[in-house]
Amino acid sequence: MGTRPPTLREKRRYLLVALEPAGTAVDQKDLYYALSDATTQLWGDATAAVITPAVVASEGQFFIIRCRRGTEHELAIALSTITTCRDTRIALRMVAASGTIESLRERIRCRMSPGPDQLAPGECIFDKKTFQLSQCNGQKVDVIEKGFKNTNRLFLTREDMEEL
């Protein structure tokens, strides 16, 4: 089947979303499954078929998600119900919507921070437990509990660290 002329193609919209917590490795395909599941669970098969969500690109912690034009609102609501991706706790923060992928790539370049602040790899003690420093972005600091069984992630700030 040949490519349709532009006037006959279905109109699409692209959403730029940021993945949290920073530094979490999520596969594009796994995110698609989580997105598809969330959309179907919330809106049902019929509306999900109209939305036709797809993860089309990823750059670092940013993902570009495609939908049919006019269904951005429904997709944005479905995005806010995503809490896990393959048993990893995540949150997707919507950054922008656009008609072209290229403009979203520009947005990514504008928003790309120079990179997570370099933290000296080390340990800290918080609430009588030992934690490994994981991520630091501005004021935000993520730490991971050390141990064999419990490796809980805690979300702190630099000021919390100073109190340790």
Partner: protein, 213 residues
Amino acid sequence: MKITDACVCPYPCGDSSVRRMALEARDLGFERIVAKDVPSGEVYGIELYTGILIRDMPLRDLVNRIRREKNSHAVVSVQAGDSGFNRAVITTKGVHILRGIQSADRHAFDHVTARMAADNRVAVDIDLSPMISGRGIARQRAIHRYRDIMVLEQRFGFPLVISSHARSVLEMRSVREITGLCSLIGMDIPDVEKAFSGIDTVTTPPDAAVRVI
């Protein structure tokens, strides 16, 4: 009017410190949060209110507890129970929010309770956590109950508050996302704006019925 998340649960209930939650709330468009068991103050430009959640407590103990917290300026929320309990809670002075309606009995919040809530300026909490993380019948039930509450709210005009009940920064949602989620239960933008500032309604003392000039 300050955009308020009416309940978040920072560390040790959750995995995020209250400062981190305040920072995240600022990024998400909030101006104030009610944090459980945290002293009030201001962090990163976000106003913090102390929140007290009371649950699984007999009415007599509950009244004593509220009396103890009378001068603490905390926002007192009580977990909803059956119809009689809810009516008693609403008429108790010092209670600001009735929460957990979505998991209470179907008849726990009827038109009589709604009128009492409006008269006593007690807010009903729209907890978004079952809509965000719930799936299937649990989410459907929550949406159904909230839609029912919205019908009563339109009729009797009791205050509403919106809370994420987040135990982690990952469970917090932006103002825009919450507006989208609230559209699922029939709330339009003015309704959501009113509910975001519902804390002001329940914490400010009512105007005196008689004013001496």
